[in-house]
Structures are given as structure tokens and as C-alpha cells.
């Protein structure tokens, strides 16, 4: 059964259509990530589910119940915000217990203690329970903020870039932990981010958003390997996909209607210039530690690809390129010869 469903939801602020004709259904225990740039409508979507915004059109359904008209408190959701807002005068324990002590819920203090203890252990902050919230590091504060959502057992957790204000290192750790916790508890999470790594590593399904619309919904592998558009293709992958005009490859090399060819780094094979195939020049090699990015000039276009560490390339080298399984896009940016996999939104 779907835990949460949005049915043709629309929301405008003045002349700006923040969310348009948006339908999404999240299964029980599923981790769905909405991925998109700032202003894509991700946060508004979360706020519509939470009841912090009212849709102009469409319905919000939680656990089979239409909650479109209900106030936030009546909906069975927990929200984790980007900026953790803890009660500075309370201890970590009291911050975690706070949602359980709400007069609307009336819980026995020993039940609360057990629940807080459990969640604190899950988040590895059990030894900090007596600390004041203000005496914590940023990472610990964000764990407490996530913990405050986890002590409750709502139908769905709504998370708005909860890791984006943290150190890169801590972000990587919490990413793994959050996924582990979600698996262990079987919770349902809708998570929004602009970070493709977060989306790829945590999501059961990714929804790629742009300008208020859901462009494609699918597993990380589907979205990466079979994007329905050049836009989606460009959201994922490091280095990003190379989009070059089809005429650079010659008219017989590509199917008709193709205007743009998408080449990911794994679709480009570099060999010495005496081989057949398009000839490119090495512009520069960027050393990023684990990966070396080779910037190539192919006629008037630049391509970026990963360098094989064994292949000694240097600026000025002439190389021959071979392209395997490129992605083709038409003039509107839609994928040509799309195999239909990945749900078209």
C-alpha cells in the first residue's frame, strides 16, 4: 500500500508555478529522493505533504486518507529541516523527548525514556544525552534534530536537505547511517536534495525535478543509465555527461532526428591518434586525487572524461576517440530511441 501519494498537485505563488501537475506515490518502507536545483519545487512539495502549504489543485493522501484539508498536526508526518532548530535551554535528552511529551500524545515517562535511549543509540549520541544542546558540534546537533523526528513513528519522514549544512566528511558518514537506520526500521522517507551523490547512494527511487515538474522517476541505475532527457542525464554523473552537437560525429554516425549526443566518461575510449575515429586534443589534465579529469577539445567543443591512470596523457597530445553506446537526444532534449524504461512522469 502506498504510504503517501500526491495526486496531480499544483501550487503557485503569485505568477510563479512552484509545483505543477505533480503525481507521486511512495510505498511503505520506501526511500524516495527528490533531486533538483534550487528553485525546482522540491521544498514546496515537502511542505505540501506536511500541510505547511495548501495546494491550489490536487490531493495529498497519507495512509489511504485524504489529508488535503487537514492541519499539519493532524497529519501523521515528521519534518526534518535543513537548519537544525533545537531548544538551546534543554538537554539533548529533553530535546529528543519533546515531541513525545506533547499534550496531544500523552506518553508514559518510562516509555519515553526507552524510546529516547533507543534513538540515541541508533544515532550514536547516547553519551551526550545530558549535554545541553548548545554544547554540541554541528554534526551532533543535526543528529539530535534527526533523532527528534525518529522518536515518533509517523507514516512518513519528510527531510529537507538535512545534511547540507554539515562538513563533507560528516555528510558522507551520516548518509550511510541514515540509509542504515531507514533499512533497520523500515521507515518511509521522502528526502529532498540537490546533491546527486546523496540521491544515488540513499534512494530506492529518485525523482528528478525541474521547474516544478517531476521529469523522471526511477531507481538510481535507471535514472543514470536510461535518462529520458538531456536534462535528467546532466543531473547525474561526475564528471557530468558531455552533450555535443550531433553533426560533430557525422550524419551517418547517428540516427535521424538526433540533435545532441550525450557521452558519459565510460562511453569514451581514448587511444593514440594513429587509430581511426574523431581526433581530439588534450587541453589539460586536472588532478583531483582519486580521479584525473582529462579536458579534451573536439573541434570547437570541450569534453571532460576520466583519465585512465595508466594512460600518460599531457596537454597538447593528439588522441583518437571511440564512442560506445552514446545517448541520443532530439531538438527538444528528449531521449531518442528511449527503451521506455524508467517511468516517464
Amino acid at each position: 500500500m502506498a504510504d503517501v501519494a500526491l495526486v496531480q498537485v499544483g501550487k503557485s505563488f503569485g505568477a510563479v508555478e512552484a509545483v505543477r501537475d505533480f503525481s507521486l506515490s511512495i510505498a511503505d518502507g520506501e526511500f524516495v529522493v527528490l533531486l533538483g536545483p534550487t528553485g525546482a519545487g522540491k521544498t514546496t512539495t515537502l511542505r505540501l505533504i506536511a500541510g505547511l502549504e495548501r495546494p491550489d489543485r490536487g490531493n495529498v493522501v497519507i495512509k489511504g486518507r485524504d489529508v488535503t484539508e487537514e492541519a499539519p498536526a493532524e497529519r501523521d508526518v515528521a519534518f526534518v529541516f535543513q537548519q537544525y532548530s533545537l531548544y538551546p535551554h534543554l538537554t539533548v535528552y529533553d530535546n529528543l523527548a519533546f515531541p513525545l511529551r506533547s499534550p496531544a500524545r500523552r506518553m508514559n515517562e518510562s516509555v519515553i525514556r526507552r524510546r529516547v535511549q533507543q534513538v540515541a543509540e541508533l544515532l550514536h549520541i547516547e553519551y551526550k544525552l545530558d549535554n545541553r544542546a548548545t554544547a554540541l558540534s554541528g554534526g551532533e546537533m543535526q543528529r539530535v534534530a534527526i533523532g527528534r523526528a525518529l522518536v515518533r513513528e509517523p507514516a512518513v519522514y519528510l527531510m529537507d536537505e538535512p545534511l547540507s549544512s554539515l562538513d563533507a566528511k560528516l555528510r558522507a558518514e551520516l548518509r550511510l547511517e541514515l540509509k542504515r537506520i531507514q533499512r533497520e526500521l523500515g521507515t518511509t522517507i521522502l528526502y529532498v536534495t540537490h546533491d546527486q551523490i546523496e540521491a544515488m547512494t540513499m534512494a530506492d527511487r529518485i525523482g528528478v525535478m525541474n521547474e516544478g515538474a517531476l521529469i523522471q522517476l526511477g531507481t538510481p541505475r535507471e535514472i543514470y543509465e536510461r535518462p529520458n532527457s538531456a536534462y535528467v542525464a546532466s543531473r547525474l554523473g561526475t564528471p557530468g555527461i558531455n552533450l555535443i552537437p550531433a553533426e560533430l560525429l557525422g550524419s551517418d554516425a547517428v540516427p535521424p532526428n538526433v540533435r545532441t549526443v550525450g557521452l558519459r566518461t565510460e562511453h569514451i575510449r581514448i587511444s593514440s591518434a594513429d587509430r581511426s575515429g574523431p581526433i581530439a586534443q588534450v587541453h589539460w589534465v586536472e588532478h583531483l586525487g582519486d580521479q584525473n579529469h582529462v579536458h579534451l577539445r573536439l573541434a570547437t567543443h570541450s569534453l571532460v572524461t576520466l583519465a585512465d591512470p595508466v594512460q600518460e596523457l599531457k596537454a597538447g597530445d593528439q588522441v583518437s576517440l571511440e564512442f560506445t553506446e552514446p545517448l541520443y537526444f532530439d531538438s527538444a532534449g528528449n531521449r531518442v530511441g528511449s527503451d521506455g524504461a524508467g517511468v516517464r512522469a
Partner: protein, 365 residues
């Protein structure tokens, strides 16, 4: 252009030592990045260079001149903060020109400097626009413009991209570096993001708990980390460590892990029996059935082109970066091959790298 010298600088806040004897030199025209986790002392160090904090001890020299006791306004340095605050009631021209108006520059000169700066940042078409309607990137450019319009000797930047989208950050990294080269500046840039540091820096200083752990080029720090802290802080995912008990003699070219000899760069020291950590980066691990070094796959993170596979062994966890096309099943037993010339060996208790063919000379900077 300027050379910045930081000599044995310390800063103590009441009982807390935020910076404990830090020294480094930033050459004329170079882009220097101070990298470290929150609380490592990097911002305090930068604030002392700017003159916003007075060091408890030590000296700071700008082009040879001792500026340790000078106030911020008396140093020819521009500071770009993490959260760029523009004056919302002013247009772009007024925002960029503000520092010059404060110093009562003649109007004609302000006009010329502002227009030059705007051209440099490619926002000259926006000069009469209000800042409220600008995109995030253009706002950031205006903030930079306000910092560079005075043409100071050096730029100090405290996570200026911290609040931006990851993609946009990558773009701005390139722009900042290009701007630095174009105006022939000396820059010190602070971040906790190792990718930013790797992409922009000529040299990186890695700080931890008030101390500099290592200074070097991005590639040197990545390939030859002096300490386990550096090895762990740089790289995503970071270096994996295998826990080994061994005694070593000079000239050793392999180490036994669980009875299996593993080839490594020649060691240049004698060491009595003790605990060591053999460090390997994910891209230097591969799966080979015939290898005696065994482990069990406990997870795979799909990243598109590649995947990160976590393997548990009797001596610790190892992460491997493999092509996504390779099929890996959670729970399966695999043989591990480690690229011999890329292994680092650390003293497990001090965290220091042993001197070896890879880590020749040991300590840099």
C-alpha cells in the same frame, strides 16, 4: 601581489588553545587553501592574518613587513566572508563601489574602478540593477567585486561558497581560480570541502586541532599523506586502513596480513614489533579470485560510472572503487589485490607515515 608569512602563531581563548604554533608561507601569486574539519583553527588563523584577532604569540608578515599588531583596516587585505551580505537598497554599482566611497575616493576614480572590476567579473551589464533580483551566482560575483575593487595585496576567503548548491559551487570554484589568475592575486582560502581544495589550490595546508598536519600540493597530499588524519580527511571515500601486527626492517618490500604477504613500497626504517596501519585508496583495490587476501562484501554504493564496494576482512574494512559494470553481490567472498606501489604504512599509535619508497623523506613542509 604579496607574500604572506605566518610564523609560529598561537591563539588561546581563555583556556582553549585554538591555534598551537602554526607556520607557513604563501608565495606571491599563489592560491593557498587551509583545509580542515570545523573547530580545527582554520578560521581563527585566517582572522589573525586579516587582523580581526590578535595572536597570543608569533608573527605575521605581509611582504616582509611585520603586521602582527596592525589593525585590520591598516592591512592591505580583503576579506570575503562565508555569507555574502549585500546592501539590498543599493544597486550593483553602489554595492561594488561602497568600500571606495567609505575611503572618500574621488568620484571619477570610483566609477572607473567599479567598471573595471565589473568587467573582470563579467557583470558589467548588471551595474544599474538592484541586487534583490539577481541570481545567486551574480550576487556572489557582486560580493567578490566589493572585495577586489580596492585591489588589495591579498584576498582572504572564509568558505565563500559554503552556502551554494554543489553544482554551482563547482562552477564558482573554476571562476574564482580563474579570477585569481587574472588579477595576479595572492589568495588564502578556507574550506572543509576537500574537493574544493583539490580543485583550486596550488598548495594545501591541512589543519587538525590547532596544528598543521601537512602542507603540499593537492596531488602530493593525496598520494603521500604524512598522517592517518590526512589520509582519512582527503579522498571520498577516504583511505582504508588494515590493522597489522608486524616488525619491520629497512629494505622490507612486503608485510604479512593474516599470514598473506602483501607487496608494498620499500620501507626505509627499522621498526620493532608493533601495530601498523596499511593504508590503501579505493581506486587501488581490485578483486582477483586467486588472491589469498580474502574478505566478504558487505555493501555496494552505486555512483553511476563507478561503485564503491565495502569489504570486511579479518584486519578491517576496505573500500574499493570499481566500474559499475562489475556485478558484485552482498555477502560474497572475494580475493583482494592492492596496488603495491600505492600503499602507505602508518604507525598505528602515532598515526605517522613510515618513510618508504613512496613516502621518501617522510615529512614535507
Amino acid at each position: 601581489m604579496a607574500e604572506i608569512k605566518v610564523e609560529q602563531v598561537t591563539k588561546t581563548f581563555e583556556t582553549f588553545a585554538a591555534v598551537k604554533g602554526v607556520s607557513f608561507t604563501v608565495d606571491h601569486g599563489s592560491f593557498f587553501v587551509i583545509l580542515g574539519p570545523s573547530g580545527c583553527g582554520k578560521t581563527t588563523t585566517l582572522r589573525m592574518i586579516a587582523g580581526l584577532e590578535l595572536p597570543t604569540s608569533g608573527r605575521i608578515r605581509l611582504d616582509g613587513e611585520d603586521v602582527t599588531g596592525l589593525r585590520a583596516s591598516a592591512r592591505d587585505i580583503a576579506f570575503v566572508f562565508q555569507l555574502f551580505a549585500l546592501y539590498p537598497h543599493m544597486n550593483v554599482r553602489q554595492n561594488i563601489g561602497f568600500p571606495l566611497r567609505c575611503q572618500n575616493f574621488p568620484r571619477a576614480e570610483i566609477r572607473r574602478s567599479v567598471e573595471e572590476t565589473a568587467k573582470l567579473l563579467r557583470i558589467d551589464h548588471l551595474l544599474e540593477r538592484r541586487v534583490g533580483g539577481l541570481s545567486g551566482g551574480d550576487r556572489q560575483r557582486v560580493a567578490l567585486g566589493r572585495a577586489i575593487v580596492r585591489r588589495p595585496k591579498a584576498f582572504l576567503m572564509d568558505e565563500p561558497l559554503g552556502a551554494l548548491d554543489s553544482e554551482f559551487r563547482r562552477l564558482m570554484c573554476g571562476e574564482l581560480r580563474e579570477l585569481h589568475d587574472r588579477i595576479d592575486a595572492t589568495s588564502i582560502y578556507i574550506t572543509h570541502d576537500q574537493l574544493e581544495a583539490m580543485a583550486m589550490a596550488d598548495r594545501i595546508a591541512i589543519m587538525n586541532q590547532g596544528l598543521v598536519e601537512q602542507i603540499g600540493t593537492p596531488q602530493a597530499i593525496y598520494d603521500r599523506p604524512n598522517t592517518m588524519f590526512v589520509a582519512d580527511f582527503i579522498g571520498a571515500p577516504p583511505m582504508s586502513f588494515l590493522d597489522v601486527r608486524a616488525s619491520l626492517s629497512r629494505g622490507a618490500r612486503s608485510i604479512e596480513i593474516d599470514g598473506v604477504p602483501v607487496e608494498m613500497p620499500e620501507v626505509f626504517e627499522d621498526r620493532a614489533e608493533g601495530r601498523f596501519a596499511l593504508g590503501v585508496r579505493p581506486e587501488n583495490v581490485s578483486f582477483i579470485d586467486s588472491s589469498q587476501l580474502r574478505g566478504r562484501v558487505i555493501g555496494a554504493e552505486y555512483l553511476g560510472t563507478t561503485q564503491i564496494v565495502t569489504v570486511t576482512t579479518a584486519n578491517g574494512q576496505i573500500k574499493a572503487r570499481l566500474p559499475s559494470a562489475n556485478t558484485v553481490r552482498v555477502g560474497e567472498q572475494v580475493g583482494l589485490a592492492l596496488r603495491p606501489d600505492r600503499l602507505s604504512l602508518f604507525d598505528a599509535s602515532s598515526g605517522q607515515a613510515l618513510s618508504s619508497a613512496l613516502h621518501a623523506g617522510g615529512r614535507h613542509g
